[in-house]
Symmetry: C2
Subunit: 418 residues, 2 copies
């Protein structure tokens, strides 16, 4: 394996998570170990920063800030939802890579981001630019194939499960068999996040909150759900419902009032909780309805992150660099679960092409017959991922997060023209 000498470029894309910066920290920390890596650059706002030659010098950041990235939510390099389409844009990316001698490219993101990394990798090969491209998985949606799970997912469900359990205390105190409490969570097309709130139930307490989990996988059956709510209200002081934003009816239409689409053609949703509340209010007289919608807060709740998740995100960043140094390219790091009962994980690799634009569905056989709760197979899968808490440093009572200096790398190319 010939040593490839040159610079690293790392970038983030798609929605931020609580732990994507931990992967960045892992990339930087590992890159420092290898002499063949000369400079460690970051691109601001993913491919947008590459196109605009907006690169920063990550090696000049303090060790304290790099360490602080491990518990900092958001995406410290900025992110984007820009989709590379035009050939001119792809050519520009390569031009920037060549201008800055980028020989190692690490791209953190979900399906679309891995697709972008794959295309860039193939273009570099076609143009004879020797470069190693490794993707690092990231998405709270947990919908990437091959990898056992995606860094970011566990921290969001840990936060949501804690929220459900806390709200259960509140709701139980307030309810007199007449309170319906709705928590709307993210999940456009898959119910991974909504399903994760099942972890709020104590083991062997199937009647614990959440009482109903409404998944995008199970078409909303109004009569059945109303009947189930009535049954819970008779049994409990309140009924707590978790609903995924992407809940659809039998015809496949979103239950949420309004639906628009983003740059990738995905629907941007909101309002499933309110819509559900209106349906319940209209059909169960005298019931009090409260809707909570943590919105973006659920994907950046670093103060409630999972230690396993943070550690795996960091390891995934390190593994990407190690793989590239070992000569791998056009791959994404995966998380591979050990086969023992006691949870262990290690990293693996999968071809980017196998990951890109493919979606991992929540297995139908992990959902109970009733369609509104999860069975032991899901719990066995998800439970280990939320273990361990993070002590985020606080200053004056509020969490303190990394702030990068973002020292710009000198531009050497003409300005990007859209």
């Amino acid at each position: 394996m010939a040593e490839l000498v040159g610079n690293v470029l790392v970038g983030q894309s798609g929605g931020p998570t609580s732990v994507i910066n931990a992967s960045i920290a892992g990339v930087i920390a590992e890159a420092l170990n290898h002499e063949c890596i000369e400079e460690i650059y970051g691109t601001l706002n993913g491919v947008l920063g590459i196109l605009q030659e907006d690169l920063i010098d990550l090696a000049s950041e303090s060790q304290q800030q790099i360490r602080a990235l491990k518990h900092t939510p958001g995406a410290a390099l900025g992110t984007c939802r820009f989709k590379l389409k035009k050939q001119a844009d792809f050519d520009r990316v390569l031009e920037v890579f060549k201008a800055h001698n980028i020989r190692y490219f690490f791209y953190l993101g979900g399906n679309d981001s891995q697709d972008t990394a794959d295309k860039i990798s193939k273009l570099a090969q076609a143009q004879g630019w020797e470069m190693r491209v490794i993707g690092v998985p990231k998405t709270i949606d947990n919908d990437l194939p091959i990898t056992d799970h995606t860094p970011g997912y566990a921290s969001t469900i840990k936060y949501l499960a804690a929220t459900v359990r806390e709200m259960a205390c509140d709701n139980e105190a307030m309810g007199q068999g007449d309170l319906v409490s709705i928590l709307e969570v993210m999940g456009r097309s898959a119910g991974w996040l909504a399903a994760g709130t099942a972890l709020a139930k104590r083991r062997d307490h199937p009647h614990d909150s959440p009482h109903l989990i409404l998944l995008p996988e199970i078409p909303f059956n109004q009569e059945k759900v109303l009947e189930e709510i009535r049954r819970v209200l008779k049994r409990e002081k309140y009924c707590q419902i978790v609903v995924a934003e992407g809940l659809v009816d039998a015809d496949g239409n979103y239950v949420a009032a309004d639906a628009a689409t983003d740059a990738f053609g995905h629907a941007t949703l909101g309002g499933a909780g309110d819509a559900l509340g209106e349906i319940i209010g209209a059909n169960i007289p005298g019931v009090k309805i409260r809707v909570a919608k943590p919105g973006l807060a659920q994907r950046c709740a670093a103060h409630a992150a999972s230690k396993i998740d943070v550690d795996e995100a960091y390891l995934a960043g390190q593994a990407a660099v190690k793989a590239a140094i070992a000569g791998e390219t056009d791959k994404m790091v995966t998380i591979v679960r050990g086969e023992t009962d006691h949870y262990t994980s290690e990293t693996g690799l999968a071809p980017l092409a196998d990951v890109a634009n493919s979606v991992k569905k929540l297995p139908r056989e992990w959902i109970n017959e009733d369609g509104v709760s999860m069975n032991f197979q899901f719990l066995r899968y998800a439970q280990p991922l939320i273990q361990g808490e993070i002590a985020v440093p606080h200053d004056n009572g509020v969490p303190v997060f990394a702030r990068l200096d973002k020292v710009r790398v000198d531009k050497s190319l003409p300005a990007y023209v859209t």
Copy 2:
């Protein structure tokens, strides 16, 4: 001071908080110290439990569970929003007190609850039933007079400030000068909670998030707010707005779409965030709008509680018992701030009549001229209250809360007739 021998009854009323159970724990722990106290009873769901003679034996709960109450959100005895009105109901309360030899009554709640306690106390005096009644302040709304602040407030603003700071990381990563992120917080008539999110700003960084705080105290001036948003979007990558649910326009009408009223005639609100988002979307073309509404989650986020708040709530419960033993009655415990620069507090007492149904407003002079940010006077007031974090015990990755056995006290009266 003649020793008054008899039983304790403690109850909770109004909306739960993250720390009201810490006050219950304080009452129980202190009551155990006094031999003149024979039994320690709790009423389930406040005055409702008294009317229905639904009392539980708190002394029979395990020490572990009482200790766990210190970090358990909700209201472990249940709560209610029932308002005592009929003379027959007041008489029934006294009848229950006499039947169970209640000589010490501790009632935890906000304005309405303190009013209820005051009325019960006066009725007992009128009927010659010797009993000491002490209120314990509780409300996330922080709107009780005389007391420097109310237990429950600090934990909610600590959680909201952490959420704002975390969302700022997320929003900054996503924004390109085109993202408006709205966080709707509770606050029907006073902006204490919304104001508290100002603590997310770093000292001497006035441009930090939240960029605008829309308080119920400042009528919504659409043109001025839109102008301010445009200014922020030019300067920052995103504009983060905190809006109180009780935001009103110049005519005093709620900006939120729908308004109903609860049993006390208070408006129950929701939707100020969505309403604001629609206004912004209609007036600033091309802007992306994201609305988050933690709803009930903000008043039960025990995992992010303030240590100062938990400690003061516990002390307030203890102080109530000590005061009653010392012969005080018809008073509410207050939190009294020390006069030194370094924050200290002790408990005091105020006549229930002075507290009941009076409201402490957010001082106008603590709001900046711009009407959308808080000045140093507010920060000096609020900053000390959110100090210190609580290590809530976790099991399997989720916080573990107290669960009381709730052993019922035998009923000795005929059933309550509404």
